[in-house]
């Protein structure tokens, strides 16, 4: 057991570094083939007179004259010391900027995770309870609609209704919890709709399994079987996927952030895209990849604990 745990940890760490290396390489290679030259864009933005001389000296300064592998290794060597360079746009330190943005995105995703957990449990149980009812079909359809309507539409409508029409909150510039809550809410609707249905299906499966039949023979009430046997099993079965979903939210929150004007990772990346700010883009992509892999690894760890603990020997990933 102990040895296999060691192998597991080693494998996951290897996966983490491999992913980070591959993703950053992709972003460097793509940058190389970018149709717009970073130095020219920089010169345009700062209203330099664009002559071949200024462009050339800029390229020299930005290290664009080195070959791609050299550029990449220079960047890696710096980023190991958490030095991601300075932004081409405003000259600020990329590391602090990206870390701040990361904090905002992480708060949104964490609040959204809590909301999703509550929502999934509620929707899943209601869906299961009403599965034979016509209300159940309506609820099922609402769930499919929830998956099919994009989060950015919820976000836009939310602002139009609560901030513009009723003025219960300001469009931007909320502070504290309310700053993140609307974004987190809009982000979680899709997840709730998707996993609520899955949970209802899993509960249904748990209630028709042999173990449930035996529990009924022991004289346990349906409610007790549902709450203490079928529901935990169904929840455990979904936990690994839920973790991966949270990783997806890190990437998916970008559009919602943009609409709520929250300066998170997504906001940063869109801005740096518009300004061709390559140090910022590379660092943001690195952070994004890192958080995604961490969520994936968490999911694998949960899967492993569940399988090892034999809580439910038929947990499916």
């Amino acid at each position: 057991m102990k040895k296999s745990t060691g192998i597991f940890i080693g494998k996951k760490t290897g996966e983490l570094f491999l992913t980070l290396v591959i993703v950053t390489m992709i972003s460097f290679v793509l940058m190389q083939f970018s149709p717009i030259d970073a130095a020219t864009a920089y010169a345009r933005r700062n209203a330099f007179a664009i002559t071949p001389d200024t462009i050339n000296s800029l390229r020299e300064k930005m290290g664009l004259n080195d070959s791609l592998p050299v550029q990449y290794f220079n960047w890696v060597a710096d980023s190991v010391h958490l030095d991601f360079g300075t932004s081409y746009v405003n000259g600020r330190d990329v590391f602090t900027e990206v870390t701040n943005a990361f904090g905002i995105t992480a708060s949104i995703v964490l609040i959204s995770a809590v909301l999703q957990a509550i929502g999934i449990l509620l929707v899943g149980c209601i869906c299961y309870g009403m599965r034979r009812n016509w209300l159940g079909s309506v609820l099922n359809f609402i769930c499919i609609a929830g998956i099919s309507i994009p989060a950015f539409f919820f976000a836009g409508t939310f602002i139009d209704i609560f901030a513009v029409r009723f003025q219960w909150m300001s469009v931007a510039g909320n502070t504290g919890f309310m700053r993140y809550f609307p974004a987190a809410l809009c982000l979680s609707i899709g997840g709730i709709a998707f996993f609520g249905q899955l949970l209802a299906g899993n509960i249904n499966k748990g209630m028709t399994e042999d173990s449930a039949v035996y529990s009924r023979c022991r004289g346990l009430t349906e409610k007790r079987i549902l709450l203490f046997h079928a529901l935990p099993g169904a929840v455990y079965g979904l936990l690994p996927n839920f973790m991966q979903m949270l990783g997806l939210c890190m990437a998916g929150s970008m559009i919602v952030e943009r609409i709520f004007s929250l300066p998170g990772l997504g906001y940063l990346i869109v801005d740096s895209v518009l300004f061709r700010d390559s140090p910022m883009i590379h660092a943001t992509i690195l952070y994004l990849a890192f958080s995604l892999v961490i969520f994936n690894i968490l999911s694998d760890i949960i899967k492993r604990i569940l399988q090892g603990g034999a809580v439910n020997s038929e947990v499916k990933g």
Binding site: S27, G247, V273
Partner: protein
């Protein structure tokens, strides 16, 4: 029979969203400032927008662009992803281990993150979107096909086929491929299509549009939001079509999966 309707109906809706532009009566880019904010009428079924353009024609052309990108990308992914996946799945050697860990590492990042990377660096345009979409999905597809192939290779019918003298190509493409197409590929593609429609319109909604002169649902939504005080219904038409097409893809995926488990 009921099952068939459940498959045909979403498929028909998707085809309508794709080829509906053939029904468009007006030029979607033709502006006529005199006719702005017209109510729906026979000539303009959905009315006109702030520049007097026919909303009905614009929505249909938007479908051609969005669904066209998604379906073209999926077609490329389906063909190349399954061929590479099949070839990787049937060889078991040391290089498999390397490929495995590479694939695991690359697919740890969800497709939307790849979209962000590609768009982040190349800027948004139709070719970029197509390349990004294909690149991000094909890796997942290869992994899926590879895993499914490995499962199928263990089954008895493959052994029978081999002992009847079937060659490697015949085993892969005649015996395994039909099984895994029904057993997961179509379902995967349908769900990814739904996701991609939302991602594409999301990106153009926040201003990373597909190009200056390209009509698509996200851009229409964004401009309709500015006009919400004047004519809120403008917001409804594009979102309804986004909803219609994603629901169709989701239902199609669900039905095909259900039909498969019912047959098995």
């Amino acid at each position: 029979m009921k099952n068939k309707i459940n498959i045909i109906l979403p498929a028909a809706v998707i085809l309508f969203c794709l080829f509906g532009f053939l029904l468009a009566a007006h030029n979607p880019k033709e502006t006529n400032i005199m006719n702005k904010f017209m109510e729906p009428a026979l000539q303009y079924p959905f009315g006109t927008d702030e520049l007097g353009r026919c909303v009905f024609s614009r929505v249909l052309w938007g479908g051609w662009v969005t669904i066209g990108i998604v379906l073209a990308g999926s077609a490329i992914v389906a063909v190349f992803g399954s061929i590479i996946g099949l070839l990787l799945g049937q060889s078991s050697s040391v290089k498999n281990l390397v490929m495995d860990s590479l694939l695991n590492a690359v697919t740890a990042i969800p497709p939307i993150a790849y979209l962000i990377i590609f768009i982040g660096i190349w800027g948004n345009s139709i070719p970029t979107m197509l390349v990004a979409l294909t690149a991000s999905l094909i890796l997942r597809m290869i992994k899926l096909v590879k895993t499914l192939t490995e499962v199928e290779m263990e089954k008895a019918y493959i052994m029978c086929a081999v002992s009847c003298g079937a060659g490697r190509a015949r085993v892969l493409f005649v015996h395994i491929l039909p099984n895994i197409i029904k057993g997961g590929i179509i379902h995967f593609l349908c769900l990814s299509c739904a996701e991609m429609i939302m991602a594409i319109s999301g990106f153009s909604f926040i201003g990373l549009s597909l190009g200056d002169d390209v009509i698509d649902w996200g851009t229409m939504l964004a401009s309709a939001r500015n006009m919400i005080g004047m004519r809120p219904m403008l917001l409804f038409y594009p979102i309804f079509f986004i909803f219609l097409s994603t629901v169709s893809f989701n239902l199609l995926g669900k039905q095909l999966e259900k039909g498969e488990t019912a047959n098995a």
